[in-house]
Structure formats: C-alpha cells, structure tokens
C-alpha cells in the first residue's frame, strides 16, 4: 500500500541524512521525498511517499519517531488529505504539434512558462497520478525533459500538523 508520511523535524544539518539513512539501512522504499523549512525557520517539513505492508509502515513511523531530531510524524493516508506535486516538463512543439501540446496542457490545467521556436516548457501541479497521466497523454518521443518535486501533502479540513 502507498502511504504519504508527513514529518516535522528540526531544521538542522544532517537531519535529512538521518531520515534517508534510516530508509536505506532498514530497506524501506522511498518513492519521493521533499523537504523545506516551514514558516518557523527552526523546523522543516518533509513529505515521504512510501509503499509497504501495514506492519512495515507501522515500523517506519515508529523508527522515524525514534530519530532524535524528528518532532512529529503523521501518516496522512490514514485520513482525508490533499496531495500535490509540481512537474516542469519540456516538450517538442513544432509545426502542428504546437497546437496539440497547448491543448493538452490546457486540459490538464498546465501553464506554459517558457517558449522557444521548437519547445514549450509546461508547469503542472496535481497528484502524482495526474502528472503520470499527462506524461502518458503526450507522445513519448516529444518529451525532452521532465523534473518533478515529489509529493507534498496536507490534511483535509481542520486537521493541522503543528508543533
């Protein structure tokens, strides 16, 4: 099962490598990992997308909690939540392709943020699945480059993860 785990941790050098090291040392999967400081500069917020059985995910959250620099851990997938990922994708856009790519981008609510004679660079946000779908929808050979941030997540409604 896919889980989205949110972590609040001390914004200190080395904290990221402790989390990454934990996953590799114990053989847990990381699908994506994103991290940045929060409005409180002493704290970072990390989102990890992982897969594993319930037992494994239980161990993952316990082991994360054990890291001294980790302040809070929540498995967002346990309740309603919102997930977003940003992708920048550079695609070939020549001749009649230009119109087609533009239309596709509109359908997926993407924005063209850079243009050359032969290319478009599109910015797209959504769930990981939506970004995958966009890539699928394009002609494979037209994709020149993609870069994705990995998912960040937040609880729905009034559920708040705060220290």
């Amino acid at each position: 099962m896919r889980h989205i785990i949110s972590i609040m941790l001390e914004n200190e050098p080395g904290a990221l490598s402790r989390v990454a090291g934990l996953f590799s040392a114990r053989g847990y999967n990381i699908e994506t990992l994103t991290v940045a400081p929060t409005e409180d500069e002493s704290l970072s917020r990390m989102t990890i997308v992982t897969t594993g059985s319930d037992d494994v995910v239980e161990q993952i959250t316990k082991q994360l909690n054990k890291l001294v620099e980790v302040v809070k851990v929540v498995d967002l997938s346990e309740a309603a939540h919102i997930e977003r990922e940003l992708m920048l994708i550079k695609v070939r856009a020549m001749g009649k392709e230009r119109e087609e790519v533009k239309r596709m981008s509109d359908i997926f609510r993407g924005r063209i943020i850079d243009v050359t004679e032969n290319t478009y660079t599109i910015e797209l946000t959504g769930t990981g699945a939506k970004l995958d779908a966009f890539i699928q929808a394009l002609e494979h050979s037209a994709i020149l480059e993609t870069v994705r941030t990995g998912a960040s997540g937040i609880g729905r409604g009034e559920r708040v993860l705060k220290v």
């Binding site: 001390e10 490598s17 402790r18 082991q63 054990k66 220290v163």
Partner: protein, 568 residues
Amino acid sequence: MELTGAEIVVKCLEAEGVEYVFGYPGGAVLFIYDELFKQDKVKHILVRHEQGATHAADGYSRSSDKVGVALVTSGPGVTNAVTGIATAYMDSIPMVIISGQVPTHAIGLDAFQECDTVGITRPCVKHNFLVKDVKDLALTIKKAFYLARTGRPGPVLVDIPKDVTSAKCPFEYPATVTMRSYNPVVKGHPGQIKKAVQLLTEAKRPMVYTGGGVILSDASKQLTKFVKMLGFPCTNTLMGLGGYPATDPQFLGMLGMHGTYEANMAMQNCDVLLAVGARFDDRVIGNPADFAQVQRKIIHIDIDPSSISKRVKVDVPIVGNVSDVLEELSRQLEAAAYKPNQKALSAWWSQIGLWKSKDCLKYDKKSKIIKPQFVLERLYEITKGDAFVTSDVGQHQMWAAQFYKFDKPRRWINSGGLGTMGFGLPAAMGVQFANPGATVACVTGEASIQMCIQELSTCKQYRLPIKIVNLNNKYMGMVRQWQQFFHGNRYSESYMDALPDFVKLAESYGHVGIKVEEPGDVEAALKEAFKRKNDLVFLDFVTDQTENVYPMVQGGKGLTEMILAEEL
C-alpha cells in the same frame, strides 16, 4: 570568565561526575589532552587501541549505573572505535564518545586524518553531533549525556573540530536540558496495565520472559518481587541474565538458540506470555512463523515502541520504563487481591518439571580431557557466584551463560547483539575500574582473546587484577560447531593454527600465566589464580576440541526443534 573549548570539555565531564575517560591521543584532540594533563578530577585511562577504549567505557557502563566515556582522535582513531560503538548500540548501552575532528575550515578538503565521523557513525549511535561553534559545546555535551542515559539508552558521539577546542567563550554548564523532539515515555498507560492484570489473572500456563531492559532499568528487585508474587516460571535472554536470580526455583534458565529445553518448551507452549524489556530477537524465538502458530496472549513492556510488534505481534503493548510499569502492575495485582489459578498452575509446573528432567545441560563429567562446562562450574563455585564475568563471543560465551548462575544484575557482561569477538578483555578493564576490589573474570577463547590482546599492556599499567579464563580448544569453536552440523564437517579456516604460548605471552606483559591440561588440576589452578588478589592471571585451559554447545535451535527452525546432546 572565558574558557577554551578544551577546558570546557573537561569541565563538562567533571560536572557530569565522570571519573574515568578511556582514550587514546592524536593531533585533533591535543588541546583536550593538554587540559586533562592540568587537572586530576577526570582520570584518563590510556588503552592500546581505540576499540579497547570503547569496550572499556562500555564495560564500565554495563557494570555500574554510570555512563562510560571514550575519547579518540579524528580519522583512524574514530574508525578504530566504530566496532565498540556499534557493540554498545546493539545492546542499548549508555556511552558518550568524544572524537576529535580536523579544524572547521579544513572539513571537506580531504584534510590529514579527516573522515566523515558523523556519517560513519550515524547508523550505530543513538545520536551524534558535530560542534562547529564553541558556544554550542557545553549544551551539546549536556544533551549527549542526557540522550545516552534516558529512554532506550545508547551511545552518543560528539565530534569536535580542533579549532573549536582552542576557541574561547564564557562557560556555564546547563543544569537541565529539554528537547522538544525527544520525550521518552516512562509510565505505562493505565488502561493497558489493567488489561495486562486481567490476562495474568486468568492465565493457566503463564510464562515471564525478560531481557536487557530489566538490567538497563535497574528493575531486578521489582521483577523478582513481582514474579514471586505470581508464582510463574521465568526465563531470561542472554542480555537479561541476572535480572532474575538464577538460583531461584522459578527460574528456568536462559531461552533461545542455546537456551534450556524447559525454557524453550515453556516459551512455546504458554498461554499468556509477559515479555519485559526484551525484543523477541531471532536468536530467542526461532522462526517467527513457527512461534506464531501457537495461540497465546502476549503482553509486552518496552520503553521503545519500535521494539513492540516488530517481529512478533503482541496483544497488550505497554510502552514505558520497566521499573515503573512493574511497580504499577504489582500495585494493581495487590489491589485486586490476586489469587492465582492454583490448580492450573500446579499442572503447568508439573509439565515444566517433566521438561526439566531432560537435564539438557548434562555433559561427560568423567572425561579425561578438560570439559569447558566443568571449568565454568568450578569457576562459579570458587568465586561463590559473586564475580563479575565478562565474555568474548563463541562457545565459551554460551557455556558461561549456561553454567555461571547469576543472581545479581550487571554481573554478566557480554556482547549479545553485535556478537563482538575482542570485547571481553577491554570490557573487563572497564568493569574493574567501575568496581575496584571486585572479582572480575574474563571468559574467553583462544581466537577471541587475540583480537584485543594488546590490552594486557593497559592492564599492567593500571594494575588490573583480572582473571582471564581462556577455554582453549584450538578452534573457532562456534564456527567449527556450525560446520560440523550444517556444512558436512568441512572445517574451513576455523582451526587456530600457530597459537602463541599464552603463558609466555602473559609473562612478557608482566602478568602471571598458568597452563592447565588435566581435569584434576582445574580447581587448584582456579584457586591459585583467585588467591592472587593483585595479579592479572591468564589461565590457559586446554579443553576438549570436539565439545559442542547444547541444546541448539538451528537458525530458521522452530524453538522446540532443539538438537540435544543425547541425540547425536
């Protein structure tokens, strides 16, 4: 007044009540050594290899209620210490390691004796710090001691660049420290404790299984009282020996791979299992699938939530400190005027009696060659069961665990989790420093002892009257046993050729050496050694090369599928 970083390090150690630091100097820690030289409150013990420093600090810690401290230089000093740090980590031993680092401006430039100490040690410490500003030094050291000894204990490393040890700042040692990200639970959840009381009250075939957590929590008094009150059978893991008195009739011996027949049978067949500060290790429960086949209710007390339901699903998890939880459990049982189900319990005890009658630790007492078990039985008698016994890793370790009956906690000092050969002698040094005047024996094998043999020199320098009991079977016996059982008697590289003359070796370090070749001489030699209160005596027992450790549960097999001595 402003102090240098090096002065601050020493002042912090003093403030923590540190009596001994086990270490080895080098370029990056010279300022710290200079400050150690100028005072006499914190005593430095010079080892002969940094592995020895960490094992000695570890043994010091295990045999007392204090935090052991090691001091090493950057680069090779640290890498030599890693084995000792990992050893302490696997057994949850509180320890603080101070390491020198190249100056901050040189970090990352492949400077002389630079290594990424924080990176190398990260997976084998509870936590580590790199101190880049002298102003952070005192608080960091305070945090290191706090983290090492609270919650689930463990080693904490503080890496200090050389320029930080010479920089100055005002010094004040913080009286307390709090960390918002670190709040170990102490008291167990009352609701869970209530559920546990209910299960224990209804149990027909109960079993108490306790481990290192009882020792670490100094809870053996509470445990003993509690188990006596219940009248239940009790077993200890290798790390838990001494947590419950071994000579008590309710004690079934150690369980697990080389546990007793009765302990393993009772563990498998009980209907309510109370696990206390033990982590269901693979050497303890055998194949987890086989273990889970039997229906039983499990209550698990542990301070670390990640130890709970890691390998075995439990029914009543209780996160908390062993001594606090046991107090509360006892209180609730008393309040509920607990009466055991006497009928069921006595049927259970007769079943256990049958298992016991297998006499699973029997060995050939008439042997013409010295049997290792015989040496350990005599050691137990001659030291009146009151010695501190350290051990290395191998068959001798298992026999020591089986045949030396520990009635007190912190007397049995061995590397269980990492299984580190070379641990025994340096650990014994730490034990002797923590317990001056006490009887300290190091049970070892001819292979293990050679891994840290250089520490004989340290023992001479500080006049440590350790008694080394070398069970010399000229084999890496534990390896040989596996090769005999599981690899068709192909003894690949497990014969110990070209052994030194241990008597001469001991003598060359300035100690006493005695070689013992006949069973009839064992007792006299041991007596002679322990009479020499001020000497280190190296006893080299020439033992049966073919003896094996029984019972044995093969890796991956169920706990009750034991190989017993008589079956061969």
